[in-house]
C-alpha cells in the first residue's frame, strides 16, 4: 500500500543525485518488504507494546488492566531483588568480558606463533561456543554436583578436599560458579577475531623493531596492541551486547537461586511475568535493561551503519 506513494519521490532524488542508475522505487521496496514486515511485526511492535505494558498493572492473564503511569519504575528501587539483579548483571558483564578477552588474546598470540596443529587447537577452543546454553548449563551443573561432581572429586584427588563444596548451592559461590562456564564458552570468539587481526599485521614491523633492539614487551605494547585497536573495539562491543542479555545459562543452572543469589534482570523479569503474574512490573524491568543495552551499543550500531552505507 505504501509502496506506490513512496516510489515517486525516489525517482527524482536519484535523477538529481547520481548519474549511475540503479533499480529503485517499487522494486527496492518489494525486496525490502518481507524482512521489514517480519521485523516490524515480531520485534519492533512487541518491543513497543512492552513499553506500553510497563505503564500498566497488567497481571498477564486478565482481559483488563489499569494504567498506573510510572509506578512500576518507581517501585523498582524499593525492590531489593532488582538491586541485586542489577549488581549481578554488572558483575556478570564485566567478568564475562574481561576474562574471555584477556584469555582469548593470549591464546590468539600463542596460536599466531610457531605452533603445530593450529586448526585443531582453534577448533577446540571455539567448541564450547557452538553448544546450546542449556547443554552447557547441564554439563557444568553436573560437574559441580556436590555428591558425584568431577570438580569436588578432583579437589579430593589433589589433596585439596577441604575446598570441596556445594558450588551452586550456596550464596557465596553460586554467581562465580555460573560465571565460569560463561567464561568458558566466550573465550573462543575473541580468540578468533584477534587471530584474524594478528594475521593482518605486517611482519616487517616486528623485524624492524627487533633490529632496532626493541624488547618483546615493547613490541607488544607499541606494535601489536595499537594494530589490534579495531579488533578490540569490535570484540568489546559484541561481547557487551551479548553478555548483557544473560538469561539462559542462569535460568538453566541455578534458576536464580539459591534464594535470589544469582538473579539477573532477565531472570527476574521472567519470574515476575510468568511466576508472580506481574506482567506490568516484569516488562518494566525488561524495558530498563533494554534501554541500557541500546544506550551502550548505539555507538557500535552507528559506526556499523555508517560503514555499511558508505
Amino acid at each position: 500500500m505504501g509502496t506506490a506513494t513512496l516510489e515517486a519521490p525516489a525517482v527524482d532524488v536519484a535523477a538529481v543525485r547520481r548519474p549511475r542508475r540503479k533499480y529503485g522505487g517499487i522494486h527496492a521496496w518489494l525486496f525490502a518488504l518481507p524482512a521489514l514486515a517480519v521485523y516490524l511485526i515480531f520485534l519492533v511492535y512487541p518491543a513497543l507494546t512492552s513499553l506500553w505494558f510497563s505503564f500498566t498493572d497488567w497481571d498477564g492473564l486478565s482481559p483488563t488492566y489499569n494504567v498506573v503511569g510510572l509506578e512500576n519504575y518507581t517501585n523498582m528501587p524499593k525492590d531489593p531483588v532488582v538491586i541485586q539483579a542489577l549488581i549481578n548483571n554488572i558483575i556478570w558483564t564485566v567478568v564475562t568480558i574481561v576474562f574471555p578477552v584477556v584469555i582469548g588474546l593470549a591464546l590468539a598470540m600463542l596460536l599466531n606463533g610457531k605452533v603445530r596443529g593450529k586448526p585443531v587447537l582453534r577448533l577446540i577452543f571455539y567448541t564450547p561456543a557452538v553448544l546450546p546454553l542449556v547443554a552447557i548449563a547441564s554439563i557444568w551443573g553436573w560437574l559441580y554436583n556436590p555428591q558425584y561432581g568431577a570438580i569436588n572429586e578432583f579437589l579430593n584427588l589433589i589433596g585439596l578436599g577441604g575446598l570441596a563444596q556445594p558450588w551452586l548451592g550456596q550464596d557465596s559461590t553460586a554467581l562465580a560458579a555460573v560465571m565460569v562456564p560463561g567464561i568458558w564458552l566466550r573465550v573462543g570468539f575473541p580468540m578468533l577475531l584477534y587471530l584474524a587481526a594478528l594475521q593482518g599485521i605486517n611482519q616487517d614491523m616486528y623485524e624492524a623493531a627487533t633490529v632496532d633492539g626493541a624488547t618483546r614487551s615493547q613490541q607488544f605494547w607499541h606494535i601489536t596492541m595499537p594494530s589490534l585497536r579495531p579488533a578490540h573495539y569490535i570484540v568489546l562491543a559484541l561481547s557487551l551486547i551479548d553478555s548483557f542479555k544473560v538469561f539462559d545459562l542462569i535460568y538453566a543452572m541455578t534458576y536464580g537461586g539459591p534464594g535470589t543469589a544469582t538473579q539477573v534482570m532477565g531472570t527476574w523479569m521472567y519470574f515476575n511475568v510468568f511466576q508472580y503474574y506481574q506482567a506490568g512490573y516484569g516488562t518494566a524491568i525488561a524495558v530498563v535493561i533494554t534501554v541500557i543495552a541500546i544506550a551502550v551499543s548505539i555507538p557500535y550500531v552507528r559506526s556499523q551503519t555508517k560503514e555499511h552505507a558508505a
Binding site: A32, P46, T49, V130, N145, A197
Partner: protein, 301 residues
Amino acid sequence: MSSSAEVAPVAALPDAHVAPTEGPSREPKRKGGIGMTIVLALVALFWISPLALLVITALRPLSDFVANGPLAWPQEWTLQNFADAWGVGNFATTYRNSAFLLILKVPLGVLISAMLAFALAKLRLRFGTVIMFAVFLGLTIPIYITIVPVFVLLRTMGAIDTIPGLVGPYLAFGIPFEVLVLQSFFRQLPDELIEAAKMDGAGPWRIFFTLVLPLSTPALVTVFILDAVATWNEFLFALILLSSDANKTIPVGLLNFQGQFSNNNTGLAAGILIAVVPILIAYIFLQRWIVGGLTAGATKG
C-alpha cells in the same frame, strides 16, 4: 569507532581469511615450536576436558560410575545409557521438532534477509540508511523485551504452542545479523556486473536470483550455518511459547530431561550428548565457514 573500517581487508571471505592460518608463506621451512605446541595442547586438553569427561561417563554403566567415582577410568563400557536417555528424554520428538523448525525457518530467513540486504546494497531504497540503522539496532535488543507481546500475539493468531508459531519471532531476531553480513558481501560485488545484466534487459529479480545469489554462495552458506546453529540452540522463546511435550525443541526437552535424570549421572551425560552431537558434528565439518563467517561478520560488518 571509525577505525573499525581498518580491519575490513583482513577477512572478506571464509577462504580469504582461513588461508593465512595454515599458509606456509610467512615462515618458510621453519618448524613449529615443539615446546609451545605442547603447552597449547595441554591447555586445549584442559579446555575440552568437560566434554571429554562427558563422553567417557556416557559410555560407562552407572554402577561403575558410582563405585569408582567420576574421574576414574571406566572398568566397563556400555551403550545402554544412550538407549535409556533416548526414551526418557523424549528425544525422538524433540529432534523431529527441532529439525522441522530448522527446515521451516532457516531457508526462509536467509532468503528474506538476502532480499533486504540486496535492496540496501544495490537498489535505490529510500531511507536506506535509516532502515539499516533500525535493523542493526535489533542486534542489541534482548529477546525478553518482546516475549510478553509475542506470547499474546501468537495466542491471538492461534499459533501458541506450535512449531510454525516460532518461525515469526525467530525470523525477526535472525534478520539483523544476516542482513549485516550479507549486505557487506553484496556491496562488494561490482556494480558494472549488475549494469551489464541490466543492459541485457534483466530485471532486478532475475539479477538477484541468477547473478547476485550465485556469486554470493560463500556468504550465504556461512549465514545459513550460523543461523541453523542459533535456531537449533534457541531457548527463551521455545521455553515460553511451547507448552506441550509433543511440541518441545531440543533445548527445552534437555532441560526437562536434566530434572528427571539428576540422580542418574551416566544417563544424564548420554542425554546431553544426544542433544549436542548434531551441533558438534556440523561444527567439526563446517568449521571453516563458521570461523570465516564470524570473523567476516565482525571485522567486515
